[in-house]
Structure formats: structure tokens, C-alpha cells
Point group: D3
Chain length 254, copies 6
């Protein structure tokens, strides 16, 4: 059994979520996504055309870029991408995960030969920045898709599955949902899960930094993560509804 | 004589300004500065110590970094600083200007051996991003200075002169204040001016892209720019007052 | 039900493994690891001292570098790390995984303030290069640890848990073990698992490129992967025994 | 009132100028420009065609590159452009200024779709390297234009306005013309002005490093700078006449 | 007169050579070449087409890349090409030499518009890595050429001259053949020679690090080097014969 | 037998040499060296101290940097060192040669722990730029050594051997001295030789681009090159004498 967490939550409760759209005026989808002390500015940009390796196949592409604001953390770090040796490994790993996850949400044939780039700029980092980027990035993506739909450029079914992401971890052998930075730092196991609103798994990444996890522990973590997706989806759906985006219509269910 | 401008302003009117503080929680000063269609997120970070070339002189340093969000413009551009050949020339030129301007606002001896870095991230670009960075950056800087003052680390006079910046230009031979993107693009002369609240000039940069300006034209542009600084200063002062920062106290006048 | 695979294997059979040690004479551990058409040259190098962030804590560090030979694939690619924009994202993601996995195998306190770097150079790539790097890299690591042990520099228990890695995937809804390149390319789900000889999970990374996986599918894949670890461990143990390395002794069990 | 300056000049006197043409044999214009202790090798190269963003508009382009010789200063510095992180900010800022200034000298339509690159290599640096680059660079540019004229490729009017540049500054509140390095280092205000032979302003850049300048101070500096341009122009014209280049003909006035 | 060398050889004896083909399965030619303590993995890759500067002339191209494995030496070095400032000078100098040498072996017209890239990865370095790369690289190149011949893509005479390379040096004024690392480090003169099986010189590079060499010393070194080529050629020919490559046929002599 | 060469020389004649000192005022040695159509600006800079790998051994170091002016050739090339992927291979190879050659001229113990950097900037390139850099660079080096001598910082013998360099080549089977660009481009063999005034060889680099050279051809080329060194040395000595540098004194022979 576990005492209350630092911020008063119990083990299976998400941090408070706030979603603000339209901070930026240029992107086709713009979302300021906050969960607890983590804030990510997600913007979706639509460009006609795809990269060379996809050209001529009639398929679209979704990709992501992730960047840490130099002062997203308690002390200032050098600006992402301005170090001499290219983008750092952690950034690359994260933005590849976000891109893969968001691609799984759409039907590339129905998107057609266009590219949607989802920029995820972390303004405040307190754990879970990659899962917040996926969850917030999905909202920006849906806004962009709905814009295309309203202009008659894509049809129903372009959205294949709404999805969200959350982190879980083992701390003192207790499975915890939605780790903040200090919990993440101390966790024996850290696992990120991306899943659809209906509980199917798009991506799972778990690392036992310290001590391997038993199979039952892995299963418990996966269950805890999948179980939180519907709550995240409700928040996404509500934010999208406020700006007139109906997910059901994008899915071809309405 | 000049017809009304695209957005209905007359030649000598600033675009509407909006200033929101505290969007980020980590920086010592955080400001979302908007003027018309331009939005800049300014954050001031305090670090103890200074760069090597200043060490041991008992003086502080203020520097700035400027970055364009990839979707600050109508079409997405590659992410600042991730191109293969380093930071581009325009970015470097702008961030050097912002840094020089903000350094002129403070008394380095009274700051002591610490560095304040002002990050200016342009979220939406519609002309005047460098002057908005100076004007918004000053607010973030003042918040950071006031934090140091409240902790007893700096005394009155650490702020030497409040300052703001504005662009002016010649379009069809008419001097215009605070150009938006399309005006800036078409202007015969583009001039940026950084000045103190009392009208002294900190930096002036004017370029005749097309046709050289006569001396009277230059003088008229400088007058138009300097004349707008008090209005900008009033907006800065009001925003700072809302978060309990009294400029007079930082100046040592209260 | 599934027809026989391209190379005649059934769904739950590993590709043939061959392990040759000592190809290089300088590294403290040198292994040429082949599984099917994939060949990885793994070399473990011991350096006294650790990186700055670990100094003074009495702990060691294990890290990995992964590089693709330019002609590891059917057509030549540009040489890893000589592109203008730094190491590519896939390489970074993979070498971070290998490093994390191998760190989990050792007790950093018992290693002491020294660094073991495991270089994994893929000479032929036919799927499963990252799991082959972990499995082969473990052998090189154990050789290096045993060298330290023989010189009296580390004691029993420096090895915490022998581990190996394998890929699994869903192809036409059938879970397959140890995918070759063409299977990997066509798989609906691709999952890599790193686990200890006793079946505890060190890292799990699963991606549904195409269609999300149901929870039972995820569970089946994890089981298939964990089930193959003992066979890999037997091969590792045999190869190590040939060069006089007794895993039990490194574990402190002999 | 001001005592005599270090080199015996009074406040309003330029340093001695020497202009040598033809040091390099390949460039269409080659000038070794010295003013006091500053020496710049300026070379103008003509290439047919323009960059992508200008193609098809029938307009030419003038651009500049600025580089500091590693031993242009009292102690050797690392070679420009060979540092790991690209060209440094000061270099970029300066070469952008030179390019803008020289573009203002020509009529792009009359130049036609060709590019003139003016390389400015500082061989000795004693203050005023950017203004020397503009003044010397103009001579190289005029030589290149005259070569095109003699080959019948451009007509009269391709040169719109001869121009030169000079630095001015405030030192102990006295406006000084054409600062050497130590004066520049100690100046309260440093202002560079590019102007036509007839006194119209092409570019003005003034920075108050230390203490803002009053409006009358700014005006006095601008007047001092503009007043020196005719002397510079006489030197340019004389050097060009020696190699048979008649500016009046390029201007279409002869 | 000279005492026996560290490894028991006399002054005019090569180190033992071992040649293994087929370690990699993808390259058109794959050779693991060892001489003494130096091991180089050479792989030849054929690509249709040539670089821009050769296109349309009906000629082929041979080029080389040289890379040092991070643990080819007694202590680990950072991985080739991952330093921030590009490929280092020594690497570039060496791979340019290897490429030039191997190009001299073939008739570019008979190769036709295709490119053969010979990758030379040094796995263990004990002196003579560049000459081993040429000698081993030639074998890989011949394997690739023979593959093209068997597919009817190139005819006899595509190989113009078989060649090999060796280092010689002056140590305590005695000419030595095939220096190992410690000899190379201490040598007064270090000279590399690439020559054909019939004794014509393709490349000679000699450096007197310490004390200039007299003309008779230079002549003696060249003679010693050229004299060793036939032995190297015999080893090359035998290795090629084992995999069914007949050099005479490639030369058009059979 | 050979007809007269393009510029009227016979096969064994050097191009006209001109040597101007003092173009730059800051370097300890400054030489503008011309031979035929090739012009190199050589500057020698003295810094106290040596690189890490030499520290504490009481030895000095001589190094070189070579750079091609963007307009040293008939068409403008991109500026050396500003390409994205670091310094190019040819540049690196050349500057390593120059540095090695000039190091051979001095006695590192007598130089003491200081570094002399010889910058070689090619202003016009018409063949032989690397040998001109060595020959001209030697003059700049001797000027710098003499300055140290006059300040009492180094004694006689700091110069071990005056040296110069020249290119030779085989064109239509005729050995030619001091190739210009077109001859170099068409030569079957290109060989550079660095030798002392007394005919000992410091460096020899010969490449048969097209057709291997026979041993007698190699010997003839070496003889032709060595034979030209005294003429080059006379020119060096005369130029040095004009600025009061007596080589005999640096050698300890006067």
C-alpha cells in the first residue's frame, strides 16, 4: 500500500489537464496542453505533397518535431538544436515516438499526398512530456484534419482511431499513473503507453532502469495505463467540441 | 497624403498590444507579448556567474536568444537551429540587437556577476518581431530583476533606463509607425529604433532597401519612432504593476 | 494458421546463431554475433573513470554505440555519422536502448568508477540488428567483466543478471519470433524485448505501425519473446565457456 | 573640447586612404583598400544566373561575404568558418550589411539575371572594417560592372548611386569621425553610416553601448558621417579612373 | 647492421599475411585482410551511375572510404565521423590515397558509368593501415569486377594493372620493410609505396619527420618497397583464386 | 624532345618568382609569394605555449593552415570552411603537408614551448599552390624566428635547415618542372618534392593518375625537383636579406 503522492493524488489518478486552443494563429491546429506542471505547445501544419520516398503512392504522412524550450526546466539549458553536434539522442527518440503514434491515428490513403507536421514545444517540463505531446498533438492533428474536411479535401474515415498517451511507473513496487518529474526520476520502471480510445495498444515502451520487472508487474502497468486513456480521450473530445470539431465525423461514424 | 492602412490604422498609430505574464512557470520572468498579429514568448532566466571574458570584474551580463517557431508564418519553415549550417544570419543579427538593447537597460555593476538570458520565441510573425522582442523582453527582464531585488540580491538602480522598441518605415514616401508584414515587405525604408522612456536613443537601424532616404526623411522617421515609445512604456508599466513590479523602485526613484 | 516462413522456420523458432570471439585483438571483449542473415561485431572497451555526472559516486557506467556498416544492406548507404547533420535519429534511438539494456545487466557499485563502452557494428543487416546487438553485446560485456575479475578489479556480483533480446511481431495476425528483414517490414506490430535469463523484463518496445494491437495480442507477443530468452542464454553461456568465462562466477553464484 | 587623437588627427578628419587594384588576377574587380591600420582585400566576382528566389524576374543580385584573416588582429584567432558551429554572429551581421549596402548601389533590372559576389577579406583590422569593406567593395563592384559594360552586357544606369561608408562615434561626449580600434572600443556610441555621394542615407546603424544618446547627439553624428562621404567618393573615383573606369558612364550621366 | 626486429623479423621481411573472403554477405567484394597485428575489413560495393562531374563521359569511378574502428587501438577513441567538426584530416588524407591508388588499377572506360566504393574499416591497427587498405582493397575490387564480368557487364581489360602497397622506413638509419606501429612511431623517415605487380610506381609518399633523407636513402627505400610487391601480389592472387577470380582474365591476358 | 611550353619556358625552368614582405602588419612574418600565376599570402604567427599533447616537453610546434580564396580560380567557389561538412579533404591533406614540411625546418627544442602557425591563403591559383605555400611559408617562418632571435627568445640553430618545395610532372612522357594549372591537369604523373637547400629530401609525394611511372621515370622526376631547390633558396635568401634576416645566423653558422 502507498501513502498519498507528493501532490496529494492517489496512485491511479491523472494530474489535472487544461487544454487551450488557438494560441497561435497560423497553424491549422494549435493547442496549449497542460497536465500538472507540464505544458506543451502543439501545432499542426499541413503541407501539400510528401517526402520523396512516399511520392506517387497516393498516401499522406504525419510527422512530429519535439523541442524543449531552454527554460522549460528549473535551470536554463542550451537551446535545442543549437549545440554543435546536431539534435540530441533523447530528442530524436521522443520525436520519432510521437510521429509514429500520430501516424497510427490516421488513414494515409484517405489523407492523400499531403504532410501534417506536429510541432511539440515543451514550455514547462514536469514529467510526461512525451505522452503530453502525443495527447495534445492528437488534438492539434484533429483540428488540422477537420480543416481539410471542411474544405472538402479529405473525407470521413481520414481519422482511423483517436488516441492518447500516458506514463506509468513502479515506485517502491507500487504502480503509479502519470508520473511527475521527481517520481519519474526515482521510478524503478518507467513505461509509456499510447492507446486508442477503445483500449488497443499503439505503442508501448517500458524500461527497467534499476531492477527488471516481473511479468505480473509489466501486466499491471499496462493495465493501469490503458485504463486511463478514456479519461484523456474525454478531455480531448471536449476541447475539440469547443472549436467545432466532431471526432465522430472525422472517423466516419457520424 | 495617405489613405487608411490595411487594418484601418492611421500612419501614426501602434497596433493593439496585449501582455500576458506567467505562461511559463520556470523562468524568473515570463511574458507573452502580442502586438497586432505578432506574438512573442519572452522568458528571462537568471544564472549566477558570467562568461569567461567578464569574470572577476564584478559586472553582470544580459544576453538574448531569438527563435522563430517553425509555424510562426503562413507556411511552415524548418525548425530554427536544426539546419546543418548553424543558426542563420538573420537570427544572429536579431538576437545580437536584442541583447545589446536589453544590456543598455541595466547597470551591470549593480547586477553583479550574474547572467540574465532573455529567450524570445516568436509564435506568430506579422512584422516587427525584433522590436516586439525588445519591448516584451524588457518586461521579462524587469520581472527577473524584481525577483532578485525581493531576495535582496540587487539594489535600487539595477535598472538604469526602461526602454522599448518600435519599427517605422517609408511606404510610398509616407512615414508609417509599427509596420505589419506586408507593409514591411513593401517599404522603401525600414528603420527600427530602441529608445528609453524619456526619448534617448539606444539603437537605431535603418535600411533603404530600394531608394536612399534623404536626411529630412531619416529625421522624420526617427521622430515618429521616438514619439511612440511613451505609449509602449505605459503598457509595459501597467503589465508589470499587475504582477507587483514597480519600475520606479528598480530605477531607485521610489 | 500460418504457412512455413520464407526460410523454412516455424513461427516460434529462432534463426541459427553463430558466435565467434576474438576477431579483434584490442577490445577487452570481442564477439562476432550472427543470427540468420544479421551479423554484428560487438566489442567491449574498459576505461577507468566515468563521465562528469557520475563522478565521485563510486559507480560505473555501461554505454553503447551502434553503427551500420555502409554496405550492411543490399545497397550501399552513406557512412554512419558522416552526414552533415549528426547521427541519425534511428541510430541514436537504438544505441540508447542497447546502453540501457546492458546497464541493467551489471551492478554499478560493484563495477566501480569505470566505463565499459560496447560498440556494435552491424556488418550485415537482415532484421533484428538491435536485439542481436544486445545479445552479442552482452557476451562482449561479460568477457570484459571477467577480465576485470581476473585482474582482481571487480568481485562476484558485478554481473547482476545475464540478459538477451529478441524481436517478435504480428504478421497476418500470427505472432512470429525473430523476424528477418522482409517479415519486419511487413509486420503489423513489431516488438523488441530484452529480458533476463530468468524471464524478468528489462525493456519492452512495441509499435503497431499499421493497426493497433489488442491487449491479448500484446500479451501473446510478450510471452513469445520471453520464451525464447533461455535458448539465447544457452548460446551465450556456451560461447563464453569456450573462452573460459564462467557466468556463475561473475554473478557470485559459483 | 577635445585634445588631439592618438594618431594626431582632429575629430573630423579621416584616416589616410590607399587603394591598390589588381592584386588578384581572377576577380572581375580586385581592390586592396587601406584606411589607417585597416586593410581589406575586396574582390568582385560575376556569375551568370541568380538564386532560386529571384529566378525569372529579370533582376540581378549583389551579395557579400566578409571574413577576418586569422592574423588580422594583434593575436591570432581561429580561422573564420572553421569553428564547429558555423559562421559567427558578428560575421553574419556584417556581411549582411555589406550586401544590402552594395545592392542599393545598383539597378537590379539593368544588371539582369546575374550575381555579383563581393568578398571582403580583412587582412589587418584596426577599427572600421565593415565600412572599409563597403567603401572598398564599391570600387571592386564598379570594376566588375564596367567589365560587363565593356562587353556590352549591361548599359548605362546599371549603377544607380555611388556610395561609401564611414564610422562615427561619441567619445567623452565628442563626436569623432572614422574611429580606430581603441577609440571604437572606448566609444559611448558607435554609429556606421552608408550614404551616396550626394548625401542620401542607405543604411544607418547606431548603438549606444553604454549610455543612450540624446536626439541632438544622434543628429550630430549623422551629420558628421554624411559630411565625410564626398572625400571617400573622391578617392574611389580617382582609383577607378586609374584603371579606366568612368563612374559617370556607369551612372548613365556621360 | 641491424639486430633482429621486435617480432623476430629481419629488415626485409613482410609480416605474416592472412586473407579471408566473404565475412560480409552483401558487398560485391568482401575481404578481411590481416598483416601482422593490423586487420582491415575491405568491402567493394558497385553502384550504377557516377557522380555529376563524370556523367556522360562513359567512364567509371572507383572511390574509397577509410574508417578506424573506435577500438582498433590499445585505448578506445571516439568513433570516426561523429566528432563535431567533420572527418579528421588524417582520415581524409588516407582515403584519398586509397581511392587514387585503386582508380589506377582499372580502365575507367571499360568499367563504364558505374561507381565502385571500397570501404576500408580498420578493426585492429598496428602500423601500415593505409597500405593494408590498398592491398586488401584491391582484392575486394577484383572480386567486384569479376562479378560484373560474370554478368557480362564488363569485358577483359577492365583491370589495367594489379597493384599492392607497402610501407618502408628508416630506423636508426637502417631501411626496414613493413613497419609495425612502434617502428613507425620511431622511424626517422616513413614512406608508403603503391606499385603494380610489375614494379611500376603508382604512388609514393615519403616524409622525413625528423631528419631529411639523403637521395641514396630515398632510393634505397623505394627499392625495398618495390621489391616486396610481388610477394603481396602472390598472396592476393591466391586468395582470389580460392573464390574463383582469375586476375589474368580480368586483365584480358587469358 | 619537347616543344616549348605554353608560357615559353623550357622543361627545366621555374616560373618567375616575386616576393613581397610586410603586406600585413600584425603577423610576425608576412609574405606575398608569387610564382607565375599563383599567389599565396603567407603569414606566420607566434603564440606562447603548445598544444596539450606536447606540453611539458620543452619543445615547440609549427603548424599550417591552407585556405583557397573563393575567387582564386577562374570561377568563384564557395568559401573554404563554410561548407556544412567541415574542411574538405584536399585542404586538409595540403595543410598537413605544409605543416610537416615546415616543422622539419626547425629544431623544436631550440624553439621552446611556443607555437608558430603559418597561414597560407591562396589568392590566385595556377598550379603549384602547395609547393608555393611551403616555399613562401618558409620565408614567413624565418621572419618570425628572426623576430624571436632579436628579442633573445631563441638562439642560433633554431633553424635546422632552410627548405623549399617544387612540383614536377610527366607530360607526354617528358619531365617538366613547376607545372602550371593546365599542365598539372594533363600530367600523367604529378610529384611534389620538399627539400633542403643542400638537396636532402623532406617530403616526396608522387601520384600517377593515369599510367604508372617506371622506376627510371620516378628517379628523373626526383632529380629534376631537387635540382631546382637552390634557385628557390636564392630567392628566399634575397627576400629575407632585404628585411634584415640573415639565414646563416638563424642556422648558427654566422
Amino acid at each position: 500500500m502507498m501513502k498519498t503522492r507528493a501532490d496529494g493524488r492517489d496512485a491511479k489518478t491523472l494530474r489535472p489537464i487544461s487544454i487551450e486552443t488557438g494560441l497561435q494563429r497560423n497553424p491549422e491546429g494549435s493547442v496549449l496542453y497542460r497536465c500538472g506542471g507540464t505544458t506543451v505547445l502543439c501545432s499542426a501544419s499541413v503541407d501539400e505533397g510528401v517526402r520523396d520516398f512516399l511520392r506517387g503512392q497516393g498516401k499522406g504522412w504525419v510527422t512530429a518535431e519535439y523541442a524543449m524550450h531552454p527554460r522549460a526546466n528549473p535551470s536554463r539549458q542550451s537551446r535545442d538544436g543549437r549545440r554543435s553536434s546536431g539534435i540530441d539522442g533523447r530528442t530524436q527518440e521522443i520525436q520519432r515516438l510521437i510521429g509514429r503514434a500520430l501516424r497510427a491515428a490516421i488513414d494515409p490513403k484517405k489523407l492523400g499526398e499531403r504532410t501534417i507536421t506536429v510541432d511539440c514545444d515543451v514550455l514547462d517540463a514536469d514529467g510526461g512530456t512525451r505522452t503530453a505531446s502525443v495527447t495534445g498533438g492528437f488534438i492539434a492533428l484533429a483540428m488540422a484534419l477537420d480543416g481539410l474536411r471542411k474544405r472538402g479535401l479529405v473525407g470521413p474515415g481520414v481519422l482511423r482511431a483517436p488516441l492518447a498517451a500516458v506514463s506509468v511507473g513502479l515506485l517502491e513496487h507500487v504502480p503509479l499513473l502519470d508520473l511527475c518529474y521527481t517520481e519519474d526520476r526515482d521510478a524503478q520502471v518507467d513505461l509509456n503507453i499510447v492507446a486508442t480510445a477503445t483500449g488497443d495498444v499503439v505503442e508501448v515502451q517500458g524500461t527497467a532502469e534499476d531492477e527488471p520487472m516481473s511479468r505480473p508487474q509489466l501486466d499491471a502497468l499496462v493495465s493501469l495505463g490503458i485504463g486511463a486513456i478514456p479519461t484523456l480521450f474525454d478531455a480531448q473530445k471536449a476541447a475539440l467540441a469547443k472549436v467545432g470539431v466532431d471526432i465522430a465525423r472525422l472517423l466516419g461514424q457520424a
